[in-house]
Symmetry: D2
Subunit: 367 residues, 4 copies
């Protein structure tokens, strides 16, 4: 089915396979008048590039984005923005082995069940490269949000057993370490942990956190289109995500009303604030003006060098060793993907929200 | 905006407020030929009824569902099924106090920010009664699923600090205690915990778990319409949900590839199986044939009798005491709501999946 | 499939069958703050009521609309507006004959092909009564449009061979004759023609025209969501419509560029105008500020008393006589239905358009 | 807004401007397993190519389509098919004049009203080149339909005052003349008429007809998603279309029930047939098994060499002469565009229809 489109007004459609001709996205519904150039997008794409540390694929993916439509004289025109990253490395190495069996933790088996066959080269459509389209679109969404005073801060919250410490939290550290952790000491410990994973031909999971600041209250809708519900879908649609939280998340299950309720107050400047933010910036599906805080649980890279048991396409039980070099962790590269999906979702909700009140509509149209 | 509809083919639209004339749902896209009567739906609604134990509202809501359209001579016709539950208790008690301020943990403030005013009677559209429409539709979806050999098992996994124990897990217990816990001892402890919460004018959160068995593999889509992504949205769109997990969920963040990958094998009957199910029955967004396991974190009831700080509509800082009797916990009543949203989502994915392969389409049309 | 919903932001979902419990519509995405009462809607419904002249069904359908949700203290809340008209006349007369065969020009055969069976009582879901939901929603849309300075004028343009004459066009006449024709003489001739049709146990078709005035330019989208394309869909989704035109419509096929192009000019007040309006108020899919002019061709009532040839459900060739009394023409009652679908479509386009420009978005959010 | 996507299951998203880097389409929801190569698509694109006769632009547009994704080893994979045609001719000739004023009959003015500015090079997004994406997607849809036994026949029905004659109708002639008319004599007369238009610096409109044969009955939905309603939208979304008809179209307005009703009968082979096909193959929004017949009225090319009155961007009244060479008629090139939109719409309806009946769903899943 048509499952490669997301969004109501700011709508993106991604396409492309790992080893096809390229990966791309069409952004439809981007407002006209945004100054936009390839470098705006490239900066986001560079954050998911491999080959930047020993914890990511040594493959050099020189992913250069190209704007094919929708921008005229440096500004978006309101018509679809088509973005493409051509694949540099399509040469057909021998995939006959990988084509023959189902890798544990991958989509090989389910693809065959659904479609009868699959593009097995490098994971095909289920490759991590699919996220290029998401990030390219996320860069555009984030640029618009920044012009509306809304900013996103994303980072690695934990890797395996190593979490950042609240009292050591320092956003300035995020880009200072290859793991995008806002805590120098945690980053050091996580690096050691990953070294061990690699030595063990093993891999690690982790948690990404994203904070969205500057939100006006009232964005999102009360029932199925709750802002948190759409964030949940957007984030859980990222390949390796197995859990999603907003605000205190699963911790609310052992909290009480007295500790979990956030008291409203009016501050000295007459601004409505909350004394705490257990809700993570969303009440009843609508933003409450506090920062939106969300987290995604990312599973360990399923491609590991250790011997694994599985079946081949004929259903025979076999042991396999997956060749090639694979990231021992996906989390750092997933940070910008989570941020991108959050940006796309929040922007879409902001646009949709413009139609909520008749008085505002009259004002908009001067009638 | 139009946020009260969910689904692509099996599409539901809910309407109604807590103290309006009624609550309803229109199910559009229900396949023709399902035998359906009001009792099929009533059984589901009864599972969310209050007044069944001391942990739920003593209000007697005698919610009787009525089928207004879409069923002819006992079978669904393929046209929209309109279901309504008329509100029995609309008499306007004095809501002037609740209208004047913003309850912490509720949607009062965000509603006013979005729409300029709100129906403040009993929570209006944000009331728990909104879930009546979801459950009524869920009953229909679940009935269709059962005819396709797919069943859902849902229960309370934890309340506050009390979790069910794996070795005491007994589905037969679920309907034997007011908390819907499949563990007699845990149910007993949770009951004590809730007694204490009530004594403290406080409330508790918890976790609901749902297991979907009998799924054929290949259901769901690889990118934005991943089955887990749509389950995440559907479940997170329930009022009090703050977290969502599939399979091992957040535990994957501290797992490794070796422990988290589920090995495929072919069993003695030639069936493809997995030795474990950390993935929770979904790989790459598509069902893998194992049971789908999902969890939702439910926050403590925000309406508590203790004094709380907040602001009124004029922005003045005030202390409030919320009157009336409120459930000290939402979790038991949320069990059937989570199950309903899961059923709706899975059925929709099953219908959408029918168009995935050209050979199957030719076969369907005998061409 | 789910085919009973239309619209992107102002989204309506209709339900109900001719002889079921009722007919209804849920309007989701109606802006908050509109004053609305049942009488606003009833006025529109009354325009499609039968029994008002000898050219319409003598059945007395006392269709009273009830607002079930979405309106609080006389104003829309932004949440779904559920409207219902209960059917007064559900008593089961004997439908066994009509159930046994396929009426020419009706949906009996196609319903059975699609769903395997059908609700045959009075046409079921394909009855003209299905339009009650459309008109109820159209009344709401039209009320909002009127507050934005946009008005709709609809009438019968022709009945059988009798057309209104341009030089006799008088909108004041529309409500002065049972046929809603803005030309007294044409109405008189059309009445005679219909008398003859009735005497012949026959029926007549006709054309409805709708003019939408007060449109701001730039509403609609350039590609698939052209305003004229959405109007075409909305109008052609009305049961008996077989053709749709915008502006000069089919006459453009024999026109030339010189005669068909509308020259722009700036008038004395500095307003941009067009010297002619062959385009019917839409250029490139977007409104150009001139009145939008559209027409719908309505087929003759298929239910006629004359003997007709058809087949029964067993496929046997038979002759039938359809009993009961049927309108010799649908056109006058279709006028308000066409207007309603036009209002719904234009309002939706106006809402969607608010997100087209970044500068306007910044202004909207004061950022 | 996001207006460049159409379809529910077979969903296409087009992008690109006349003088940007290229024109493309992403087809999402194409069933897996279709053999597909670039030549399948190129054949359709060639039918809309200019430069093939003196009635079309002498510009040589060597539009070569490239498949960027979604096809593996010659078969569609079920994932998005990205198709692109790079623009050969982007050199920036001087567009300053055309940028300065609003051409009558074009979207220049409405684009500026909506977005504040426009890509004025060659019509930008409103150029006829936008249809490349539609035709590329249409080629894929038509290939699938042909494998289901459904074929489309499209042609020019009239040009200016010259119509094909029913008794001279010969499909074999369609590709024998540059105007795609199935009537040799009419083609000759139309050619003369166009010569005169060109001599007069004028242009002509016309009518395209499309016949869809081999349809199974029951395709389409009874209310808003009527097959004819979706065909109306799809066809009216083509730039120059001002009218749409199904079956007898506007002629039904002067018909009677006796002449317009199509009698059902069972033929000697036990097949259900209709003695006539005034309905054009659709009853109650669903296909009835007879050929679907539709027509589109195409307006005269608005770009004509004659002097025209208009305004410039400053609102000053001016006279203009549009330079360059333009087709005196769009109709022949629109034939394949109408066919493409029809193919896309019918295929989508066929896919959606698979979910209509529970018994068929059980059978599909062998449960």
């Amino acid at each position: 089915m048509a499952g490669s489109t997301i969004g109501t007004i700011f709508k993106i459609t991604t396409w492309g396979e790992s080893h096809g001709k390229g990966i791309g996205v069409v952004i439809d519904g981007c407002p006209a008048g945004l100054t936009l150039c390839e470098d705006d997008i490239q900066q986001y794409l560079n954050r998911r590039k491999p080959g930047q540390s020993k914890y990511t694929t040594p493959r050099k993916e020189d992913d250069q984005v190209e704007i094919l439509s929708g921008v005229f004289e440096g500004r978006t025109t309101g018509t679809p923005i088509s973005l493409v990253v051509y694949n540099q490395n399509q040469k057909s190495k021998d995939y006959s082995e990988i084509a023959s069996y189902y890798r544990p933790g991958h989509a090989d088996y389910t693809f065959d069940c659904k479609y009868g066959f699959r593009d097995y080269r490098g994971g095909g459509r289920s490759s991590g490269r699919e996220t290029i389209g998401r990030v390219a679109a996320g860069a555009v969404a984030a640029k618009i949000l920044s012009q509306l005073g809304i900013t996103l801060l994303s980072y690695t919250k934990s890797i395996g057993p190593v979490s950042i410490q609240a009292d050591a939290f320092d956003p300035a550290q995020i880009n200072e370490n290859a793991l995008y952790m806002p805590d120098q000491e945690a980053a050091r410990k996580a690096a050691s942990y990953l070294e061990q994973c690699m030595a063990d031909q093993n891999s690690s999971g982790g948690v990404v956190e994203c904070i969205i600041s500057g939100m006006m209250p009232g964005i999102g809708d009360p029932v199925f289109e709750k802002l948190n519900a759409n964030l949940a879908k957007a984030v859980c649609s990222i390949g390796a995500v197995k859990g999603f939280e907003i605000g205190d998340g699963f911790a609310v299950s052992s909290a009480t009303g007295l500790t979990n309720n956030d008291a409203f107050y009016t501050d000295a400047d007459g601004q409505v604030k909350k004394q705490t933010n257990h809700a993570g910036g969303i009440l009843g599906g609508m933003s409450d003006g506090s920062p939106i805080v969300l987290r995604a649980a990312i599973k360990p890279t399923p491609s590991i060098a250790s011997t694994q048991h599985t079946i081949n396409r004929d259903g025979e039980n076999i042991d396999i060793n997956i060749h090639g070099r694979h990231d021992p962790i996906i989390v750092p590269r997933a940070v910008v993907v989570v941020e991108s999906m959050a940006a796309i979702t929040v922007l879409d909700a902001l646009l949709v929200n413009m139609t909520a009140r008749l008085d505002k509509i009259k004002e908009f149209y001067n009638r």
